[in-house]
Symmetry: C3
Subunit: 138 residues, 3 copies
């Protein structure tokens, strides 16, 4: 299927988000060994639990991020979708490093990855409702 250049960037950001999530999962596997938390346990060492929670929280975010970026790219703007997706990727990386260093410092990375997602969801809603009302805004 042929795609436009901005759509190609949306695909690349999507692949990077998936790769980032896989990488976080690999870090959890490494942390299991390092902090001696054998499967199926997911508790028992507070530092292991930080890595585990970063992975889980990224799962929660990814599940919303993926439909948000694709609906936004298709209904509003593929270029902006790729841009907001890049902010999400950076936010998740900051979240990873701040949470594993000190769980109390996790707010900034969390905000930086959830705000672009909320913006995209809102954009999709405005796009669709404005079209239904006969005055398309995008």
């Amino acid at each position: 299927m042929p795609i436009t250049t901005p759509m190609s960037w949306v695909v690349i950001v999507t692949v990077l988000a998936l790769a980032q999530f896989i990488a976080f999962g690999m870090v959890v596997a490494w942390a299991r060994v390092k902090f001696k938390v054998a499967a199926p346990a997911i508790t028992g060492n507070e530092v292991f639990e930080r890595y585990f929670r970063v992975h889980m929280n990224s799962l929660e975010q990814l599940v919303v991020f993926l439909p948000a970026i694709w609906l936004f790219a298709l209904l509003v703007s593929a270029g902006w979708a790729a841009g907001l997706g890049t902010v999400y990727l950076a936010g998740r990386l900051i979240y990873f490093f701040s949470y594993t260093k000190d769980p109390k410092s996790r707010s900034m990375g969390f905000a930086l990855s959830s705000l672009p997602v909320m913006l995209m969801i809102l954009g999709v809603l405005v796009a669709v409702i404005s079209r239904l009302l006969g005055h398309p805004l995008f």
Copy 2:
């Protein structure tokens, strides 16, 4: 990308499902403070655990709901997809209130959100197999 009116409703139901899930996550953040369960812990207070489990269970359901509603909308009927998706949204809301009140009462809300998803999956399967066999049912 232009879309039909029924498809617009599928987009709106999708956005509402994402917003509902985000809202459940915000309630977990609030419950962390209220019941004094500091990150990265996810246990320690039975009432907090109810909010946490509602969020997790909604994650499990959302991951199946999203591909189910979209494949059903594209291959069977966008109007029915929006309708069944609305039942899912209501079921999740009932699940949230009944589970956090008393975990034993969670079955009804759970059934009301998982039955429409199973119906849509079944519909997609019937649509595709009947087409492969040369006798498209939808």
Copy 3:
């Protein structure tokens, strides 16, 4: 929406992956009763925790598998997507049986379900970047 025969197979593999995940969730509900772990608890019996973790790990994989198989089907090859998706399904089944028997034996099933996903992600990335560079490989 009309679809090609290879795409029909991608839909079928997608539906089977969703059904498999739902089935794993039903086994967790059964294990709750059998091993007497009442909601909202998710710990307390080591064998229950194995079933619970298989379900959770399948959730993590499914969230990456779904966009991977669809982007790969659309941008590289629908036939190969269906084939690699079938390996994923078999890998998850082996993972289920080996993990619940002995968590230490879970590596093979895990590899068999994550390798096809990584291959598809890599394929999508190569497809998109080669197109952006003006020398499409797929």
